[in-house]
Amino acid sequence: MLTVKNLESGYGDLRVLKGLSLHVSPGEIVTLIGANGAGKTTLLHTICGLVAARAGEILFEKASLKALRPEAIVRRGCALVPEGRQLFAPMSVRDNLVLGACAQFKRGATWHDVECDLDYVYLMLPKLKERQGQLAGTLSGGEQQMLALGRALMSRPRLLMMDEPSTGLAPLVVKDILRAIAGLRESGSTVLLVEQNARAALGLADRGYVLETGQIVLEGTASDLLHNRDVQRAYLGREYHSIAE
């Protein structure tokens, strides 16, 4: 579904991604793990068109995404749940969700279609239905994350990219978020997940890539990565038992 070949990008003189290649097949959950500054967010932003690719290819369903504007990429079916949620705090939950359907309206969807999508999102994330009239800024961290996810789902993405959905959330809330992502898999969605919490991400994902300083140093099934001793030491804290997750 998504194929990235030898992608290079960065900011000004700074070269962040140094020629990396990866792919996500339909129905897969693929996770990217890596330390801060490895280039995970830059990779997502480059795929979404927020940062320009300097070299390499990004193919989404066999068509190139390079040189497309971010909104065009969303219309193709690639949605990003950004790090830190980036909600519209003074607007209601429902309005935030409807804004997510912007790409749908542009594609010619009617209000009826959008209502159906809303029902689907409320079904997947029931908490949002309870809070639909509340202002987004007054939600708890976990609910805000759910809302960010719901807003992305409103564009009916075929590929959903999530940037650190568990940041700053209490462990129990993280579990809820992860459960929601697992629910997406059941509905056939394809997910590219960037996550600091490597153990949780690998517990959920089919495959993963380990990023270090803009290069991929390891690719494998989730179970391969969980059993790799370098991953265990660097990202799973294996040699420091019982780190709370």
Binding site: N6, K18, V217, H227
Partner: protein, 432 residues
């Protein structure tokens, strides 16, 4: 027909290429960081792993030779600390100093899986009783098949220490073994021993054999299949890369599928290192793209085969290598031809009653080569029969290989060594 890992074994070629690149790049990054030999090599040749953008670009990197690995003995080529290594094996060291090979837990898991694929391609399932007659030792053969068969949940009989052929056959009979893993020459010896002991192969339950670890011929396959009443599958592997599981035949017996999601295979001209066109014989070169403990970049195997990327009727998309016809080091050049002892064997064994025990003698001055082949027959023949057999074989050699050779047949036991054991002597007395 069962395919063990449909997702990978039937992957479309472009997707497979992408996966290979995705695995190759991280692997190059790892060896560059963790293996002093490769870091030096990359620095010397100004190779930056990030510049290797596709599988073809791999050709910029120099080969890794057996000699490089020997120099690294025991631990210098390991890419992970020893505490991450869960198994150490060695090459046989028959051609010199041995090579030590390490495996992480993931490496062992992948290895078992790849052998399981080969076994499954030979229709081995959890209903089978797999008799592993390879030596359990530092050598990888036995362990590879053992783990692969266990992965398929088959019943494994590690019978290498049976001691005698008779005991091996008894085990086979008593436990109703259905699958045999050993070298082709050992399988043939078992066949002869059965005849001597009066054990009819149809009293046994053998269904198939996965044979490998030495070059063998189609004719030898036919003999083994006839004597043991089982389907013989060719398998290919070498300890430096992992052991068995590198490549194996499917039911169509039209070459061995290389497990390309874990390995990149090339066939190169042994003299120049240039890639050989598909279908042309050359030296097999492998790059391991998933190995953690002992990754190798462009390792020259010394084994000679050709590569075929055309689709196989079995549905697997992995490229096939031809049966390994010999080693780069026993390739014979004579009368303007390149050929291997195994090709001679192939022709010889077409003659009724001829054994795979033969010698090739090369004489004459350069450009005017005389080739004499002496082969042992299984039972005594009359002089006229011998003469007819010689003439037929000589004509056959000329017809298939193009070789004009004098063929002499000798009485059973002429080579002195135990009967049934393969003997191939090549003597080159030419003045160059």
């Amino acid at each position: 027909m069962a395919i063990y890992d449909e997702k990978h074994e039937k992957m479309a070629r472009p997707e497979l290429r992408q996966l290979q690149v995705e695995r190759l790049q991280p692997m190059l990054n790892r060896v560059c960081r963790n293996v002093a030999f490769y870091r030096r090599m990359f620095e010397e040749h100004r190779i930056e792993p990030e510049r290797i953008k596709d599988v073809e670009a791999l050709r910029q990197i120099p080969f890794t030779s057996k000699e490089d690995l020997r120099r690294s003995y025991p631990y210098d080529m390991f890419a992970v600390p020893l505490r991450d290594v869960v198994r150490i094996q060695c090459t046989s060291g028959t051609t010199g100093k041995p090579i030590g090979i390490g495996y992480t837990a993931n490496d062992l898991r992948h290895w078992s899986e790849l052998v399981a694929r080969n076994l499954a391609a030979a229709e081995v399932t959890h209903h089978d009783c797999v008799q592993v007659a390879f030596q359990y030792s530092l050598f990888t053969g036995a362990f590879g098949f053992h783990q692969g068969a266990e992965r398929l949940l088959a019943s494994v009989i590690p019978s290498s220490n049976a001691g005698t052929l008779r005991r091996q056959i008894e085990i086979m009979r008593d436990f109703k073994s259905t699958v045999l893993c050993c070298t082709p020459s050992y399988a043939l010896r078992l066949g002869y021993a059965m005849e001597e002991l009066g054990v009819h192969p149809e009293l046994l339950h053998l269904r198939c054999g996965l044979l490998g670890a030495e070059p063998w011929s189609e004719t030898l396959r036919a003999q083994i299949e006839a004597r043991l009443k089982m389907a013989a599958y060719d398998t290919y592997g070498l300890s430096e890369i992992m052991g068995p599981g590198v490549a194996g035949e499917c039911q169509h017996h039209q070459g061995l599928h290389v497990n390309e999601d874990h390995l990149i295979v090339e066939v190169v001209d042994p003299a120049t290192g240039a890639p050989m066109p598909p279908g042309q014989k050359g030296e097999l070169v492998f790059t391991t793209i998933t190995k953690e403990a002992f990754p190798l970049v462009r390792y020259r195997t010394g084994d000679v085969a050709s590569l075929d990327e055309s689709p196989c009727p079995c549905g697997r998309t992995f490229a096939r290598i031809s049966r390994v016809s010999g080693r780069t080091d026993d390739m014979i050049f004579a009368q303007g031809l390149k050929f291997f002892p195994s090709e001679i064997e192939d022709v010889l064994l077409r003659g009724k009653g001829v054994t795979p025990r033969f010698g090739i003698e090369l004489r004459g001055t350069h450009g005017d080569d005389e080739v004499e082949i002496r082969a042992e027959v299984a039972q005594s023949l009359t002089a006229t029969e011998m003469k007819a057999l010689s003439e037929r074989t000589a004509a056959d050699l000329e017809g298939t290989i193009g070789l004009k050779a004098k063929v002499v047949f000798m009485l059973p036991g002429a080579f002195g060594q135990p009967e049934g054991k393969k003997v191939v002597n090549v003597v080159d007395q030419r003045c160059h």
